[in-house]
Symmetry: C2
Subunit: 238 residues, 2 copies
């Protein structure tokens, strides 16, 4: 395990406290949670947790980014990217069941670790915390359902087109940089890197220009009419 242990500074605590998950809970209970928690700095590409391990800690990404991925039979797929400030593996923590996914840092990252046991203890006594967990889990559940719909209802070209449109909506610009390596994007979208390359070229006729990491949507209307984005799949805020 790499990284340097550090006492939880007040500024970190405040960052965590500001998360919807912790914002409404009782101060006493929040302090109890923080008592056993600590912050670590990790270099890029460090494994944080591995699937099938018991959920010792609830993780909070304070800075950097984390890849959630899964393996089976020698194959590996990227499931999601966690960006600041948010938590991951909440479901495993509250149910005290083994992780279903592994996690590794993508870049230099600061992660807070909160003992799962404390999370479970506090959540049985703090109603506001339990309610916040409900909201968070419902949100997570809906995100995965959307992802499943994306995978089952669309071809890889359509998935890429809609992914680009989501990025366009997020940045508010028709020109942006990819936020992850293409190989990871390919894995996230459920295809091979070779196919992603071809898919990018396959979108050229619909007004997508690619220069390295930079994406330029030159004909938004055209791309929209091909991709047919749908809030029930592509709107990650609802």
């Amino acid at each position: 395990m790499a990284g340097t242990n550090a006492d939880m500074s007040d500024s970190y605590k405040q960052e965590i406290r500001d998360l919807a998950l912790f914002a409404d809970m009782d101060e006493i209970n929040f302090r109890a949670l923080m008592r056993g928690a600590y912050v670590q700095n990790f270099p890029p590409r460090i494994d944080l947790i591995h699937e099938n391990e018991p959920p010792d800690f609830l993780h909070v990404v304070l800075s950097g980014s984390v890849d959630l991925f899964a393996e089976w039979n020698g194959r590996e797929t990227s499931m999601a990217t966690v960006r600041p400030v948010s938590t991951f593996i909440l479901a495993a923590s509250v149910r005290n069941l083994p992780y279903l996914m592994s996690a590794r840092t993508l870049e230099k990252s600061r992660i807070a670790l909160i003992p799962s046991q404390d999370v479970r203890t506090v959540f049985t006594v703090d109603c506001a915390f339990a309610q916040a967990i409900v909201a968070e889990l419902a949100q997570c559940y809906r995100s995965v359902v959307k992802n499943t719909k994306d995978l089952k209802l669309r071809t890889s070209l359509e998935r890429l087109a809609n992914y680009l449109l989501r990025q366009q909506a997020r940045t508010g610009s028709t020109e942006f940089n990819l936020t992850m390596e293409k190989r990871r994007l390919a894995s996230f979208l459920g295809m091979t890197p070779e196919n992603l390359s071809r898919a990018f070229r396959g979108l050229e006729p619909y007004g997508v220009k690619v220069e390295g990491n930079r994406i330029m949507i030159t004909d938004l209307e055209d791309l929209l009419s091909y991709a047919k984005p749908n809030p029930l799949i592509d709107d990650y805020s609802a």
Copy 2:
């Protein structure tokens, strides 16, 4: 809307009360929930809800079975089957966000409908109920994650093989009947009916015999070594 409205009988109430979701909540609050609830009988193949509708009711399947499915761009895919006694669309209900999936009865079914507004109201005052919702949502979330891993990490033949093994484990027998039409199974597994037919024949060399709806696993070891089931994908209880 088909089906006959019916007052909630005490035996139905007890069935619902026995669900883990409602078992620990305060009796007063449970009664408040039941006050606005009612039970309806539905014939087969009736649409209960449609994606994008506001979540008016939390549904509880008391008998029969319900198909959850999703549509996009003229395509449709089966997402899950809900069997008694359990609830569906809990996440939409508690977040008060539109359904991500549609639901239709597969057979004659008895469904209890609990106003979502009451669920949200009660869950803010009943800590035990909030905790039960957490447990339920965490479970649902993990199921969908497993399903995503199944889809992204396995070929259709492997998905079918593992599906059969899960049925084998559930029934405790190497001989069983499929619990749904093959066309729905195909959709659930993310393939076409034609391909499912071919996949069944593709599993013959691994000791799978098919006669109509009846499946016979004649060489469990062989099938296991091909399918390589994994608790982190196939064990729906954990």
